[in-house]
Amino acid sequence: MVGRAGRHPRAALGTVSGFVGEQRDMRDGREPTGAPRDAAFFRHWLTAVAEAVEEEADRLTELDSAIGDADHGTNMRRGLAAAVSAVEEERPPTPGAVLVLAGRTLVSTVGGASGPLYGTLLRRTGKALDDAPEVDLGELAGALRTGVDAVARLGGATAGDKTMLDALLPALDALGDGLDAAARAAEKGAGDTVPMRARKGRASYLGERSIGHQDPGATSSALLFTALARTARAADGEGGTP
């Protein structure tokens, strides 16, 4: 893996189908539909998240360097690569099982606060999906709500604390308007953390000096939703949906 200059990041993540290559801008194509999605879709979603984190790793680390300890990109990259590899190897049969396995893998590989928090988000969302073979947007939204609530409880944070929740909560609220709307809300939420003063995690030690920097956790959380919209659009295109 080392010293292969110019190797495309996707190759390292073991992309399974070509669809993730189609990274059209979310405002470019059609709105992704809320059609039912199967286990394969959720594996593809994780791959898309891993790719996005791979591409944004330096930026996440840079943001983390301003108000944290400069490792968020590295840690998330390691965890998501492991999660993708685990679900591709094991191929769990349902969307819920895919997310539970991915969550468990994150807890075992990421460390820091991000490991338990992201792990809990995926694990609890997966558990809420139960063993349904396919889930539509409404069902996913409900399950994500359960997952995000669990994250809030575990981290003891609320909206406005300059955390992951500041991207996740607006995204959940916008999910009713579709996946693109959720992705935009998550990105806006991450951007809105700039003027906030951190009250949780390592950035909180900076007090007033945390103001003026975008939260790395909110930034990586937004990638979950942009990747979700992108994956859905690609799947719609493949299936020839309306």
């Binding site: 400069a70 690569a81 009250r199 390592r202 909180s204």
Partner: protein
């Protein structure tokens, strides 16, 4: 960081050392030379693994699981003894692995640099060192450490291991705990691990060892000062920007900026500011142990000079210091700077501090 290296799914870097080519130095030379901090490493992804390999080679009295990242004293589990397990992000060496051995920790779990270890590590460590008398987790108060140790405690208890936890939160630079993650655990960790370790070695049961550890944790206060930022391997450059003529007061041990920046001060002025911050938080009403700690990049020559000023400052304020430890014990990679930890002790705690210890980094008595 402009890097073409990709970690494999387990985060390991494969191939032979001669094949590990780092593009770091050339990349920086072409952009901003000021970022080119030179480090004695192969590739960033392997820093912790390589250090554990080296530790295993240097310390046959320890059993080092390089792959699973657990450092255990070789004679564990010690029959009839409560075991102490700690862990945390790497980059603070010798904390925690350097404190594994008779009289202190039974096992340590290093995470990635500045990243708490994962629950599987501590659960595995607990299972390896438990003699049946139970295990005490020594946890520094950071969100990640607390979450991962909590999950580990659940895993270990599922396996039938009795687990108690003590939280170290000694950093007085964090003043408004309501609006932060609470006080950080820093230099006080050394006192907790040494003194509770001595109590455990004496045969105290789990509840007693836990009580002793908590007493020590509550008796510790720390304050740190950075003269430079530190360089994480992942970033390859300084974690924050500290101009040449300034220092940072009230720093933590993760390269995070502190709470106040001032023009450069003398060793004596830094000692006064540090001692004042410590005493303002909790004026001791008895003798204290002092740890005059280097952050990793400050020479021992300067640290001893600084200790002279710390002892002067404490003396002027009427604080008795029966024991002092000077050196790099709770570090922050290559950061230049220092911290002072005071631990108020009574006869009993002092006796446990003086008790024999035999670890890579602390060794006396017997």
């Amino acid at each position: 960081m402009p890097s073409t290296r990709r970690p494999d799914p387990r985060g390991a870097v494969v191939g032979r050392p001669s094949e590990w080519k780092s593009d770091r130095w050339t990349a920086y030379a072409g952009t901003d030379g000021s970022l080119a901090v030179k480090q004695l490493i192969n590739v960033p992804e392997r820093v912790v693994t390589d250090a554990l390999r080296g530790m295993a080679a240097a310390h046959p009295e320890l059993s080092v699981d390089v792959e699973r990242r657990v450092v255990v004293r070789r004679d564990a589990p010690v029959a009839g003894k409560v075991a102490l397990v700690s862990g945390g992000g790497s980059g603070h060496e010798p904390l925690h692995g350097g404190f594994v051995g008779p009289g202190m920790l039974d096992a340590a779990c290093p995470g990635e640099v500045f990243t708490s270890p994962v629950p599987d590590q501590m659960a595995r460590a607990a299972a390896a060192v438990d003699s049946g008398e139970g295990v005490l987790f020594v946890v520094k108060n950071y969100t990640g450490d607390v979450l991962n140790f909590d999950m580990a405690a659940e895993l270990a208890e599922d396996e039938g291991v009795r687990v108690a936890k003590v939280l170290v939160q000694d950093d007085v630079a964090v003043t408004d705990s309501t609006f932060t993650a609470g006080r950080r655990g820093t230099g006080g960790t050394l006192f907790v691990e040494k003194i509770a370790g001595a109590a455990a070695a004496e045969g105290a049961p789990l509840e007693r060892v836990e009580r002793v550890a908590r007493r020590v944790a509550e008796a510790c206060r720390s304050f740190g000062v950075a003269l430079t930022a530190c360089t994480t391997p992942a970033k390859g450059g300084p974690t924050f920007d500290l101009p040449p003529g300034e220092l940072e007061l009230g720093i933590g041990i993760h390269g995070e900026p502190g709470r106040e920046r001032r023009p450069m001060m003398t060793s004596g002025e830094i000692a006064d500011a540090t001692v004042d911050a410590l005493l303002a938080d909790d004026p001791p009403n008895g003798p204290v142990l002092a740890l005059v700690n280097g952050m990793g990049g400050t020479p021992l020559l300067e640290l001893y000079g600084f200790n002279a000023e710390v002892q002067r400052a404490l003396g002027e304020r009427g604080v008795a210091v029966p024991r002092t430890l000077v050196g790099n014990y709770v570090t922050s990679l290559d950061m230049a700077g220092c911290s002072v930890t005071l631990c108020q002790v009574d006869e009993e705690l002092l006796r446990w501090w003086d008790a024999p210890v035999a670890t890579p980094a602390l060794r006396w008595g017997r």
